[in-house]
């Protein structure tokens, strides 16, 4: 079994899906000839031709809107938004159409399509290149939102997303595109959508994260041997795997949620609410959100304040353990 980066795993999932299923098409800005600005689609146009892999004009609404039409007429489009910050011009298409075609037509039409987008900070980028906009997609009924944190999951989840009969937003943590390698099976396999992953079982405290931050949590807790944390990688943001979370919190009584998205009205709030609604009497401390500040994510010379460090995670974990009602 070869080891691969997350980026290579994404590429392989696309490649194998296209190989297996003629109806899969891949397009977006600079996705075709050059193989994408991150090279996630490298080699695909050569292999599958310009019809199935192509460069679109800079027009995100057209990219997503045309995918709607293609999905209705027999294709499985896997489109790319060059950065999640540039998915916003397509937001109208995503909310008013992608999320709704099945319901609007009471099942006559449905949209097997995937919208991929690199997301998240920590790469010293220009404005609009570092956003974590999970909430905007997770809040919309009819969409699924999936975020891998490892090469293995990236491949398996993307294959699942492409096979899914419903539209899936697939956010890729670009910070760890090339950060590390992992053994990834050569053959196609699926990682189920809607299931969280227990990264490490534990009994003291539940820590929930996803994407690039899962690794940061792991680092933090490796250096904090006195706390036996259960680390959960959410993997699917919508629909949430409530059972895994609730079960864990019932066991630990304490929960720390770590995300880079803006804190207020952010994704962590939903997790706090779920835990309240389903495990209230088990709570030994107030659920804690360690999240992005409510500010525009800063340019590189200020980004270090915004990015959540393993030290901060460990610090909050300790604070939580120290809480006494």
């Amino acid at each position: 079994m070869a080891t691969k980066t997350l980026l290579e795993a994404v590429n392989e999932a696309l490649d194998q899906s296209m190989e297996q299923d003629q109806s899969v098409v891949v397009y977006g800005e600079d996705v075709g000839f050059e193989g994408g600005v991150f090279r996630t689609t490298a080699g695909l146009q050569e292999k599958y031709g310009e019809g199935r892999v192509f460069d679109s004009p800079i027009a995100e609404a057209a990219i997503v809107g045309s995918a709607v039409g293609m999905a209705i007429n027999g294709l499985k489009p896997v489109v790319e938004m060059q950065f999640s910050g540039f998915s916003l011009p397509a937001y109208n298409q995503i909310v008013t159409h992608v999320a709704r075609f099945r319901n609007r037509s009471r099942g006559k039409y449905h949209l097997p399509l995937v919208i991929r987008m690199p997301y998240g900070g920590g790469v010293k980028a220009l404005e609009h290149h570092s956003e974590s906009l999970e909430t905007l997609y997770a809040h919309i009924p009819g969409l699924k939102l999936v975020i891998p944190s490892t090469p293995y999951d990236a491949k398996g989840l993307l294959i699942s997303a492409i096979k899914d009969p419903d539209p899936v937003i697939f956010m890729e943590p670009k910070r760890i595109y090339r950060a590390f390698k992992q053994e990834v099976p050569e053959e196609m396999y699926e990682v189920p959508i809607g299931k969280a992953r227990i990264v490490k079982p534990g009994k003291d405290l539940t820590i929930i994260a996803w994407g690039a931050l899962v690794r940061e949590v792991e680092k933090a807790m490796k250096n904090t041997p006195d706390i036996d944390a259960e680390i959960i990688d959410l993997r699917t943001i919508s629909p949430i795997d409530m059972d895994t979370i609730v079960e864990s919190v019932k066991k630990t009584g304490r929960v720390l949620i770590v995300h880079e998205a803006y804190k207020t009205f952010g994704p962590g709030a939903e997790l706090v609410s779920i835990v309240n609604e389903k495990a209230f009497v088990y709570l030994e401390a107030p659920p804690k959100r360690l999240a992005g500040f409510d500010v525009t994510i800063p340019l590189p010379r200020g980004e270090q304040y915004f990015i959540i460090s393993p030290e901060q995670i460990a610090f909050e974990a300790k604070q939580l353990m120290a809480f006494k009602a």
Binding site: G65, Q93, N103, Y109
Partner: protein
């Protein structure tokens, strides 16, 4: 050829039948089977009658909002009739006539405007996308349908409608440009009915015609008398032929008029004069089409009367059915969000059912 002869930049507009039903361009008269001509006319009559009745029902408080088509029948039927059976129809929201022609039932249309999503579940094989409320966004759907057809080497095209107001939207631009770029088999029909709610055509854009917007995309554009079913048919046939040969999209501006209000919530007296409306009455597409059919010997006055009578009866019975169709079942508002119900949806449905039970509601 027609694109040169009727160059919008030169102020030319294609018209074949004038408002009295006289052939003013006899050489351009398209050859259309009698069956088709009659299907077109029948659709327009049913469209007209059901449209007028919908307004009436609404005024009686028996129907919800409704967006009338009265006056725009030829723009729709003339164009959709020139498309092929396997082609796709992509709607804005004021295309009852095109829908009926393409196989959406009157019952479905009424059910939709009655406030029931089932009205958008058209019969199997009916290649029509549901009514599209967000202005402009439908063009890209048509582009995608056409892209899929082209890639899969299916002889299919998509026809998509948009209003004059809709051409100002960014998605109009993106969709037409995308279609042009990939030579997609798309026919774009702008129903220029002179208004976008209260906003007149001249306030949508400084361009003298909407047809000339085609130049921005390197595709042909033509302005057509939208109340002339023959002119619409011809322009669309040429566009469909281009589509079939891989020559890409065509932009057709149908110059027409919305005789009624924008929707039943709108009062057009606030923004347009009676004289203007009266003038357009004379250009009624049904008058000229009827005259043409009678002239051709395809229709008699008696048959025409019967058509209207049948249509009225049909409308009455259909509406009765819709009016007594009741509410949507609770489960339905959950069931179509995803292929399978998600845990949160199951939970919410259960919780609500439990509430209904406990509350004895």
């Amino acid at each position: 050829m027609i694109f040169k002869d009727f160059d919008p930049l030169k102020g030319k507009m294609l018209q074949i039948l004038d408002q009295n039903g006289k052939l003013v361009q006899p050489k351009l008269e398209p050859t259309i089977d009698k069956d088709i001509l009659l299907k077109m006319y029948h659709t327009m009559v049913l469209g007209r009658v059901s449209d007028d009745k919908a307004i009436q029902y609404q005024r009686q408080g028996r129907m919800l909002t409704y967006a009338p088509n009265h006056g725009q029948e030829a723009a729709q039927v003339g164009s959709i009739a020139a498309m092929k059976d396997d082609d796709w129809l992509v709607l804005a929201f004021r295309e009852l006539n095109a829908m009926l022609y393409k196989g959406v039932t009157l019952e479905q249309s009424y059910l939709y405007w009655y406030g029931n999503e089932m009205g958008s579940k058209y019969d199997e094989g009916v290649r029509v996308l549901p009514i599209n409320v967000p202005i402009g966004s439908q063009i890209n759907h048509a582009a995608g349908l056409a892209y899929a057809a082209k890639l899969q080497k299916k002889d299919e095209a998509a026809i998509v409608y948009i209003g004059d107001g809709g051409t100002s939207h960014g998605e109009f631009h993106e969709g037409v440009n995308f279609s042009g770029l990939f030579d997609l088999p798309v026919v774009i029909v702008i129903q220029n009915n002179q208004y976008a709610i209260s906003t007149p055509r001249r306030k949508a854009t400084k361009a003298k015609t909407l047809a000339q917007k085609a130049i921005a995309y390197g595709i042909p554009g033509i302005q057509v008398d939208g109340n002339d079913p023959l002119a619409m048919y011809l322009a669309t046939s040429v566009a469909r032929e281009r589509a079939g040969k891989g020559e890409g999209p065509t932009l057709i501006e149908a110059v027409t008029y919305r005789m009624g209000p924008h929707t039943t919530s709108d009062n057009p007296k606030l923004y347009r004069s009676d004289e203007e409306v009266e003038e357009w009455k004379l250009k009624d597409p049904l008058i000229r089409f009827k005259a043409y059919l009678i002239e051709k010997g395809y229709l008699t006055e008696e048959e025409d009367e019967q058509l209207y009578k049948d249509a009225k009866e049909n409308v009455k019975q259909t509406f009765q059915k819709v009016e007594t169709s009741g509410d949507v079942p609770l489960e339905d508002i959950f069931r179509y969000t995803y292929d399978e119900m998600t845990p949160n949806l199951n939970e919410q449905l259960d919780e609500y059912k439990a509430y209904l039970e406990k509350a004895g509601a």
